[in-house]
């Protein structure tokens, strides 16, 4: 999680507005981008897993803010962590659910026995048009996960996953445009809520689980209100989602959003606890997952917790924010 923050108060000061969908959002430094964020979390994942990085056979980066329009981000990450050259890499794009798409691919590769280890990253340096509602929340951050066959060394195992996708154009950015555009209130009910509810109910129905069978739940968090509302709609409590609800402090990290929420949850979870996670990507779709933690979780989560990255921060004013985001013409 980058250390700089832009508060809603500062955005309001700039534009004479009074919005507060989050308290503040994370902002990259001058030399940070989606690749540097991906590399940082990938390195931490490798260190915690305690595995030989050359055995990682796949590195997939889910993002909508690639530094290069043409040239993979995954190759840079794979090189940086020492996974090259015997590795498959690709960049995934499905708005805010590109990270969980990468996860599902890794699950398939490992589950089929094609790879011993596969890494999925969700990371973004999201763009918000100045004065647009998304300027409050479009944030920077990411998380990396390494998938392997279930063993005594794995921190959690996957019980099931389910995807729910329709062609719903609620948010998009066409080639060569600087900022995404969105359909205002259309991004709510027929987009975010419909797809998260659809994926959640689909997975619960297939597995026979009920909301009370889970210790924790993580829903894509574009602002503070939406995940709380969708949790209540589905019958989950605020207590179940609170540990993973970090959006108020760091904003919406887009493809990083639900993976980061899962990381915050794993930081506090005990062994043998079931977690429900659902992403949402505009366009639109949701990937739902059921994970159960294992004993190895406690020993593998040494080092800084997500909360320490959230607390390690420096607030910037609006002009500095623009400079960091490369939005001042020189």
């Amino acid at each position: 999680m980058p250390m700089y923050r832009l508060s809603a108060e500062e955005v309001n000061r700039m534009w004479g507005t009074s919005g507060a969908p989050v308290e503040e959002k994370s902002v990259v430094a001058l030399d940070e981008d989606t690749v540097t964020i991906s590399v940082e979390c990938a390195k931490q994942a490798v260190r915690r897993a305690g595995i030989d990085p050359s055995l990682i056979g796949a590195v997939y980066v889910g993002t909508e803010s690639k530094p290069y329009a043409v040239k993979p981000s995954g190759t840079i990450v794979a090189e940086a962590i020492g996974a090259t050259p015997s590795v498959s890499t690709a960049d995934y794009e499905f708005a805010c659910k590109a990270g969980t798409e990468a996860m599902q691919t890794c699950i398939g590769l490992v589950g089929s026995g094609m790879q011993k280890y596969a890494m999925a990253i969700g990371a973004d340096t999201a763009q918000g048009r100045p004065a647009d509602a998304l300027e409050y929340t479009a944030a920077c951050g990411g998380a990396a996960y390494i998938f392997a066959e279930r063993s005594a060394d794995t921190v959690a195992y996957l019980e099931a996953s389910y995807s729910y996708v329709t062609d719903t154009p609620d948010f998009w950015r066409r080639a060569k445009e600087m900022y995404p555009r969105h359909g205002s209130r259309f991004t709510g009910e027929p987009a975010y809520f419909k797809h998260i509810v659809g994926a959640s109910r689909g997975l619960l129905q297939e597995t026979g689980y009920k909301p009370e069978d889970f210790k924790y739940a993580v829903f894509h968090q574009p602002n503070t209100k939406f995940p709380i509302t969708v949790a209540r709609t589905l019958g989950f409590s605020v207590d179940q989602i609170n540990p993973g609800l970090v959006v108020g402090k760091v904003g919406n990290t887009y493809a990083g959003s639900s993976p980061v929420g899962l990381a915050a949850t794993l930081d506090v979870a005990g062994p043998d606890e079931r977690i429900f996670m659902v992403s949402y990507g505009s366009g639109s779709g949701s990937d739902a997952f059921i994970l159960t933690t294992q004993d190895a979780l406690k020993e593998k989560r040494g080092g800084p917790k997500l909360s320490s990255f959230i607390e390690r921060k420096r607030n910037v004013d609006y002009a500095t924010y623009l400079r960091h985001r490369g939005q001042i013409i020189q």
């Binding site: 009074s18 359909g183 205002s184 209130r185 259309f186 027929p190």
Partner: protein, 379 residues
């Protein structure tokens, strides 16, 4: 002229229908109205709609509406008079039956606002102003009403008194199944909400919603609800050209004509549905309709005079603010609500003993107004 009666009504709840078309909503309201009337023997159709051309790129709604009913072939006419479209369409439908040209008219209004971004709604509303003199400046409908609001505050009332128009609407909407915002709202919440166009707060404005309402009109018999008066009037579009901008002359003229037809005075009206797209417009409408003297309507509202038990119950299902304001359909929601009251079918919203009710809507900043008065037969 023949006397005209309301034979049936159909109301679609106002909300955001993301996966339904304007034709779908119109057909739902129309079928409900036909079922309510116990007949589908319609011989002509009127469709009120304001902004289909902008919001759906769709004109020729008359033919489409007849098609949506499965009745292509019927004479079917779209009526547009800004946000007064619904009341004006009702007036035209009344004339069709009164003249003897039609024996069973379906008049429905529909608006599908959720298909466009909010800025297009502002554009659509501004299109009721004259482009060459007013709209080209970029002023919004809220901006124009804000000028009246400011003048009214300078001369007559406190901000919270005008704001009570919205609070009372929300009070009345509680429990209303077709209302978009059926919950209470405090005056503090209204006054603390951001400015939409100073001094109009966001919570003093009607919202964006989709909806459709329809009525069936037939020659009057010896029972039911009759149309006692129906009139449309206009005023010059430019606020600057009006002698007194706080007097809605179009509303006053339409009311005068409708009262005359019905043989009643403002004091005889048991309930009124008025056009409160912004609180100030509702307040000024009450004055122009004769329910309060100029400068006194805000105090009437704040003093509970428009409550269900008050001197003149107003916006008994929430009005534009809380029931919702689907532009061209609004006027027909109002008439349908008045009919429900006169039938004694208004449930918790019922004004006891309601015999005569009035519906008033307007387009632009009251450059066109429709006033329709319904009466319980024999009352």
């Amino acid at each position: 002229m023949r006397r005209v009666a309301v034979a049936g009504l159909g109301i679609v709840p106002v909300k955001e229908y993301w996966d339904r078309s304007a034709q779908d909503l119109f057909a739902e309201a129309a079928v409900k109205a036909m079922k309510d009337a116990g007949t589908d023997n319609v011989d002509s159709v009127y469709v009120a709609n304001m902004s289909g051309a902008l919001m759906q790129d769709q004109v020729n709604l008359g033919a489409l509406a007849a098609g949506a009913l499965g009745r292509p072939g019927l004479p079917s006419i779209r009526v547009e008079a800004g946000t007064a479209s619904g009341g004006v369409a009702f007036h035209e439908a009344v004339k069709a039956v009164a003249s003897g040209y039609s024996n069973c008219v379906l008049v429905g209004g529909v608006e599908k606002m959720s298909d466009v971004l909010p800025e297009y709604v502002n554009t659509a509303l501004a299109m009721s102003e004259e482009q060459e003199y007013t709209a080209y400046t970029g002023v919004t409908k809220a901006g124009l009403s804000a000028m009246l609001h400011r003048l009214y505050l300078d001369l007559y009332a406190e901000p919270a008194e005008v704001g009570m128009m919205a609070v009372k609407g929300h009070d009345h909407a509680v429990g209303c199944k077709h209302a978009q915002y059926p919950f209470r709202m405090s005056i503090e919440r209204a006054m603390d909400s951001p400015m939409e166009a100073d001094p109009i707060h966001m919570m003093e404005c009607s919202g964006v919603g989709d909806g459709a309402a329809a009525l069936m009109l037939v020659p009057a018999g010896e029972s039911g609800i009759e149309v006692a008066g129906s009139a449309v009037a206009t005023d010059c579009c430019s606020l600057a050209a009006r002698k007194d901008p706080l007097a809605f002359e179009a509303v006053r003229r339409a009311a005068e004509r409708a009262y005359g037809m019905a043989g009643v005075k403002a004091g005889d009206i048991d309930l009124a549905e008025v056009h409160d797209d912004y609180t100030i417009d509702g307040v000024l409408s009450l004055e122009s309709l004769g329910f309060a003297k100029q400068g006194e309507a805000a105090k009437l509202v704040a003093g509970n005079g428009t409550d269900k038990e008050g001197k003149i119950p107003v916006n008994t299902f929430g009005g534009l603010k809380a029931r919702g304001h689907p532009l061209g359909a609004t006027g027909l929601y109002q008439v349908a609500e008045v009919a429900l009251q006169l039938r004694g079918a208004a449930g918790d919203h019922q004004v006891p003993g309601a015999r005569v009710g009035l519906a008033q809507c307007m387009g632009g900043v009251a450059s066109v107004a429709a006033v329709n008065i319904l009466r319980r037969f024999g009352a």
